[in-house]
């Protein structure tokens, strides 16, 4: 039997709209896995009072950090000025070898800044990218990269993002040869703005690149595994998908509550629908990964529940175990 490597995940206890309560509760649940340890970073007194039963379970350790970077703080100056913040201390824990990965539901810009400054970037990758899992019914998610880190990247960056995201998808979901698509306004090779036209030939050198894809190719199993784009359109696409899903689910549920017959039918359909809806719940996907920095960094969404933190910790731990950072670093080198 193969022995599972035990890893420690530094969790920012103060980040997110529901911190510290939900974050602490999630961290306490995450250590139910004996192969996972959690270093919970933040204001010790607040953490301890939020711990279920008032005591840290086995595998959970608290690291006191007095400052809190707010969700709307300007990231660069916040990281510089609040050196004893939970975000900075959590990142430093990885740098110092106390933890193997980071999870934060806090200020995304501050997490990115702290990771770049304290952990460093991959050689040749000046700016990291955010890779978000997009749910696909019946199979592993697609990876959307970049979902908002760099709004105006050079064409070379898209090729690097594709190489890293492909390796990330391979490591996380055991996809032997991930298919990569460039998000554009048409499938033909000549389609797109100047960025896409310049990036296309560079992407052709990345194994698995299949050409342009369109917005309609999201969430379909038979299209691609990785969708690469700039941070501006990536963020617009992500938010559009979220909005469309929310609107669609609202419509479906209103129809099922629209008449006595529909309500009767819903008693049969609803359990299946709820099961389906759960697979699209952002608390289940495990958060976004920061690609291009020398430490596994998982960014959970701002409204993360305890469940979201449990899943994010599991993803961070899995990625640390399979050494995805080193694999992505090599992928960038191979991509030239």
């Amino acid at each position: 039997m193969t022995e599972t490597k035990r890893v420690v995940v530094a969790v920012d206890a103060m980040g997110g709209d529901r911190a510290p309560g939900e974050i602490v509760a999630g961290a306490a649940q995450a250590v139910a896995d004996p192969d996972v340890g959690v270093l919970l970073v933040g204001r010790q007194a607040e953490i301890e009072s939020a711990l279920p039963d008032g005591a840290a379970p086995d595998g959970l350790e608290v690291l006191d950090a007095t400052d809190v970077i707010a969700m709307d703080d300007e990231p660069l100056s916040a990281v510089r000025k609040q050196k004893d913040s939970s975000i900075v201390r959590a990142v430093e824990a990885v740098k110092e070898g106390r933890a193997d990965a980071i999870v934060s539901a806090g200020n995304t810009g501050a997490v990115t800044t702290a990771a770049v400054l304290r952990l460093g970037r991959f050689k040749g990758v000046p700016t990291p990218a955010i890779a978000v899992p997009i749910p696909v019914a019946g199979q592993h998610p697609q990876v959307l990269v970049d979902a908002g880190a760099v709004v105006d990247p050079a064409p070379e960056r898209l090729a690097q993002y594709a190489a890293m995201a492909s390796e990330y998808a391979r490591a996380r979901w055991d996809i032997p040869a991930p298919r990569i698509g460039l998000l554009s306004n048409g499938e033909e090779a000549g389609k797109g703005d100047e960025l896409r036209k310049a990036a296309f030939p560079l992407l052709e050198r990345i194994p698995g690149f299949v050409g342009n894809v369109e917005g309609r190719d999201f969430m379909h199993a038979d299209t691609v595994d990785v969708v690469v784009t700039d941070g501006f359109t990536g963020n617009v696409a992500l938010k559009s998908l979220e909005g469309a899903l929310r609107a669609l689910s609202g419509l479906v549920f209103s129809v099922l509550d629209g008449s006595p017959e529909a309500r009767e039918a819903s008693t049969v359909i609803m359990p299946e629908l709820l099961r389906l809806a759960e697979s699209y719940d952002p608390d289940v996907t495990g958060g976004a990964a920061l690609l291009g920095v020398k430490g596994m960094t998982v960014i959970s969404h701002g409204a993360s529940s305890a469940r979201a933190i449990v899943n994010a910790v599991a993803v961070a731990a899995d990625c640390a175990r399979c050494d995805v950072i080193e694999r992505m670093r090599k992928a960038v080198i191979d991509a030239g």
Partner: protein, 100 residues
């Protein structure tokens, strides 16, 4: 002697500061040092974004702070520095202030 004004070593001159900035900026941006002249503009000529400049500042603060206790760069001032030459002059001036 108050720690804030204690000078560990002789303050650096403009040429030394420029050399230090060139060395670290070249490393951060992964470009040849020869591209980094006094007149080079951070954004337009060197493609250095705000994150790269903060990286440079953190390195300079750590390195120069060992020579001159209290050396620091204000974030507000950083936004005003457009060229390598302006940054060099700023650092030299700040070193003087810290050493005074």
């Amino acid at each position: 002697m108050p720690a804030e004004t204690h000078v560990e070593q002789t303050p650096m001159g403009p040429d030394e500061v420029l050399a230090l900035i060139k060395e670290h900026l070249a490393e951060i941006l992964e470009i040849d040092e020869s591209r980094i002249t006094r007149d080079a503009r951070f954004a337009e000529d060197l493609d250095a974004d705000s994150l790269a400049l903060i990286e440079l500042v953190e390195i300079l603060e750590a390195e120069l702070g060992e020579r001159t206790v209290g050396f620091s760069v204000d974030d507000e001032d950083l936004a005003e520095l457009r060229t390598v030459g302006e940054a060099t002059d700023y650092v030299v001036a700040r070193l003087g202030v810290s050493a005074a």
